[in-house]
Point group: D2
Chain length 283, copies 4
């Protein structure tokens, strides 16, 4: 069943829910799911409403232009998303395959609300995996001595894929600021630690050295500040003194792939809104 | 800040959210929190709305009588709860103290949205604990040879306390059907297993015998069917082959007290609605 | 680094650890890992010792025949496993692919201490997946009207694969008693519930009906009693009232695949011993 | 049943387990539980052996002097702990009561392998709680303008209690370096975050600002470096965008008290050994 999802963020005001739900009622919209959240600190209001597409008594264009009047009154940032148009997902990987393979398999089994349109990597290693799943594969190497030019090529490759969302599935390379800007709120990364613990490189090694009793993974939006973007989802798994950094790396892979898939799915289902550097996840 | 909470359950209908939120808006109500749920199987709609009490432009009596018109139209089961009137909590315990002590401490620290008005037990053991916390204690023994009469006395004692909610904090005795009926949806039990595993007596012993790798606790409403009432909250903890039934009992106590407190708190905050034998928990 | 693993189960006796460790010391064995467990109820002792293969001062045959003297004295059930001989893993699947794909990928990435030698299924659906991973695929249909003969064919197919361990990766068909017997302690199943909750068919549907707040998965050895074999590993994930049986099924798949892989890996690494219907997992 | 626990830490050497277990066997010791661990990085070996006290064929003094010969040969750090001598536990608290109340209740119910000998606090607030449990209470204020002298008084008060272990149950004041030194490996703290996240003050506020999806607690030994000591136990609980810093604080209290009690119990049962800044927990 096709849905239209109305996502709203605006300054808090009296009667917002009444106004919006009355509007949908007047346009005959059948609400399947609705979530609200008031951010008390920022006095900002957030809504997510799922409307059965066929229930609407007017065209989407009319619905949108009618709603624009309310939106202006309340100073809303809003969009209306049609679930019949699948989001285009670009996966970026490197050498390690656990996240990429897991996502490709979910795509193949139609578990993702989206379409995987390509795998982009700085190594050739995952090309066979992608071809198995009939997903276009492109390699753009990032070499130390040609780094600047390589990053330009990579950036162009990303743009050429015309993705709606870019998933860094253990890509391990820095994303340039202009790409972060261009796809703001649309690049999702999996970091292999429970952020803000172990920001940066080699988190498992550092976790082993610190002697933590739980290791974790963090799925977050990418911003210009490395590992500092809004967190979508996190999870942990128990470790003990007998687990070396290598053991942790292996154990962490399961948490990484599950957490990334969960965070991505929230994004694909338009369940994530951001407020400053935090996410509201209407799960 | 005092709140009025509007709890609604009714057959699904077009425009319900619009109608209710419009009504609240017209009465100038300031909504602090709102949750909806549509039970697809039973085509039943559930709402919980928290309204700032002082924001209402009319008396509560007028608000209620005005709302009754909508309620009739949509065939609603509803109630309006005033958070300034604390719910009266009766704790029923037996010999083991972990849940009772934990609840008394939370009450003492004003962590519970309610007032503990008494501890009722079939043993004397917890009387000193209750007196420490200045909570009235009453013992009604349940003896094998006078069981019927004892249960009548216990039932009367419960009623005399005039509780809004009765918490079975490892009470270990059967609650008679008429008491279940009288306080339907108002008696909360903690069962020391992850239901529906190990219904009935000695769940830790049976868990150890079965060799499970996780043990749990279940907080649920009490119905005439033992351990079959609607589940409010559950949690588990990992065990292994080295843990005996006694070890599991000790480890389980922490899960029991936390899960009971969490379930009770949901109830006190009017977050729990029931649909057949299931709960909707607007957490 | 190649290891020999000494697994011992015997009636409890004074000086067991001293005797065994002294024996290994005398044969110059370098112990990398050692675990003991005394089952108090059954007065039975369990050991797992990992010895660096190259450290031994004699041949494995001599080590074994020497050890047999101790073993007889203490009435030990024991075996010595050489990690350089990879266990042969047969995967049995049906239509659903999440567990099979996850195992094949782990095999492909050399994460499993074993070699996947085949996928056997009653449906054709997974054949392409298996061929992607260069793993032999065999289909043996199980049809209602030829069930008895089909099961004989299936049994023969399993035996022909000469597996060391058979993994039921959501196989969904009954395993005949003679096959259970033939591969006792060598058939591993993933059940899609937190056993002993929801033994049998449609656990997610029944979990949704019961309104549980956590769903789970159980990895266990297969015995003649359906879903009653020794439990190797279990895990759970949180659900709520908004999750339908279908949602639970999807959410459960991640727990199923992780729990199965974890349980299988324990088995492959000779970490699992059984005592009556329970497992000792030296993790 | 009274036990003697032999705790050993030494450079790795061939035949260690054989030597020690042979020694215990020769002294007729009945081993109830044994754990080993080889730290591969530091090439250091760790053992914990529980021996039934009455099974020994000689006096403890003879056992110790005999063992000293082995200990010297292998350069062991070791001690033998008699479980019939309960460890003296000093609780240090401040204003918040959840951890202190939880520990006092466990002490009262004989759940701790130790005896709570006092509560020391910089505030008067917990005195009534302590007196309820018949535990001596002492207040030593720490005031801004007399801080140095106050810390001297506090240090003296701690020493006067003659504790075997000091538990900082949300004490919130800096422990001076000489006290850290004097009770090295004997002061246990609960930090209200999942370390190394949010070292220092106000972790819940910072967790809310960062928008993490899990909050945690860390039980660790206190060293001169604030929040940097060896971690004994950690746990987490899920939070979401609707939880304010205050909500997190409340939710975190349950994790704090459970994690502290668990870490303390490991220590009391001599299950914790340290290797550089990490713990080995033989649970």
């Amino acid at each position: 069943m096709s849905m239209h999802r109305l996502l709203i963020s605006c300054p808090d005001a009296h009667g917002l829910v009444a106004k919006v739900s009355q509007f949908i009622f007047e346009h005959n919209g059948n609400i399947k799911e609705a979530h609200h959240h008031l951010d008390d600190l920022n006095k900002r209001f957030f809504m997510r409403i799922e409307i059965e597409s066929t229930s609407l008594s007017c065209s989407i264009e009319d619905f949108q232009s009618d709603f624009e009047i309310i939106a202006k009154t309340y100073n809303m940032v809003w969009y209306l998303n049609d679930t019949s148009k699948l989001k285009r997902i670009l996966i970026m990987g490197s050498k390690s395959s656990h996240c990429v393979a897991d996502l490709l398999h979910r795509g193949h089994e139609n578990e993702l609300e989206g379409e995987i349109i390509g795998v982009l990597s700085n190594h050739q290693r995952l090309s066979k995996l992608a071809s198995w799943y009939d997903v276009p594969f492109k390699q753009v190497s990032i070499e130390a001595n040609t780094k600047e030019a390589d990053i330009v090529s990579m950036t162009q490759a990303v743009i050429d894929f015309k993705p709606d969302v870019v998933v860094l599935a253990r890509y391990m390379q820095i994303i340039p600021q202009d790409l972060c800007k261009h796809f703001e709120g649309k690049i999702i990364n999996i970091h292999h630690s429970f952020l803000p613990s172990f920001v940066g490189a080699n988190p498992y090694k550092r976790a082993a050295e610190r002697g933590v009793k739980l290791i974790g993974a963090t799925c977050h939006y990418v911003t210009a500040d490395l590992d500092e973007g809004p967190i979508i989802e996190q999870d942990v798994v128990r470790v003990d003194h007998a687990d070396s950094a290598d053991d942790m790396k292996k154990m962490g892979q399961d948490i990484e792939k599950i957490t990334l898939a969960k965070g991505l799915q929230y994004h694909l289902e338009d369940r994530v809104l951001t407020c400053n550097n935090k996410t509201i996840v209407f799960s």
